[in-house]
Subunit: 140 residues, 2 copies
């Protein structure tokens, strides 16, 4: 099998290229793509514990802790003991973290549009669907 | 935009899942997916300098050096000064590295088949083509 037929090689190289592009566009906000993913969870207000965020982003529980540390140092979020259930840590955006929602979502929207522009529009949804299947996010 | 519509999120999560699966299957050979990529270049015999291998695998030149170090320690390859042009380092497989070609290619073939099995056959080539476009490996 040629490397450019191997699904692992193709996902690794395309992910690398797209990740670089998104990183570059998020740089002015001093935010990495993964930190954007964390804020996305919090902007939506649905996933608010480190464990839920890690699960949504498919990160190991050991990884999320370091990411939240760095984001807390940057003043994007704080961690509190949950008022509803004191066994849980709850992650809460700061005003700075909240204020980034609109400009960052605009940048991500534009980036997605530009990155996918080289793929015929009717194939874009199929590509996303098949990636969700490979990621285990959607049933085949 | 929902995360599961974001191309960076979809590539990152699907790459992670597929990479884990390939890693698991290569474990009996004590070889990582990236080390497999390096050996693939050498089995083909086309890319033999660290720079060429790095370019083929879309790795930074600084990354390839550590990978080759570890592979040399494992007895998979050696580095020599090129006989044809003494300015270049040439990477050469050991007998152990050569002997892994057949069993590893079989494992990779099977893994690709199984990973893609959840995607309709006629969509598999389109998926690969569009990933090559995103990776910059193929013109749109």
């Amino acid at each position: 099998m040629e490397l450019n037929q191997c699904i692992n090689y193709l996902l690794t190289t395309s992910q690398h290229k797209v990740f670089q592009e998104i990183s570059r566009r998020l740089e002015p906000f001093d935010v990495t793509p993964i930190q954007y993913g964390v804020m996305h969870c919090l902007w939506k207000g649905e996933k608010t514990t480190p464990k839920e965020i890690a699960s949504e982003l498919k990160l190991e529980n050991s990884t999320i802790s370091g990411i939240l540390d760095r984001m807390e140092k940057k003043g994007l979020l704080n961690r509190h003991v949950s008022i509803e259930d004191r066994r849980f840590i709850e992650v809460v955006l700061t005003d700075k973290g909240k204020s980034l929602e609109e400009p960052i979502l605009k940048v991500i929207d534009d980036a997605n549009h530009d990155i996918l522009a080289s793929i015929p529009e009717k194939e874009q949804e199929l590509l996303k669907k098949n990636l969700r299947i490979l990621a285990g996010l959607e049933e085949a």
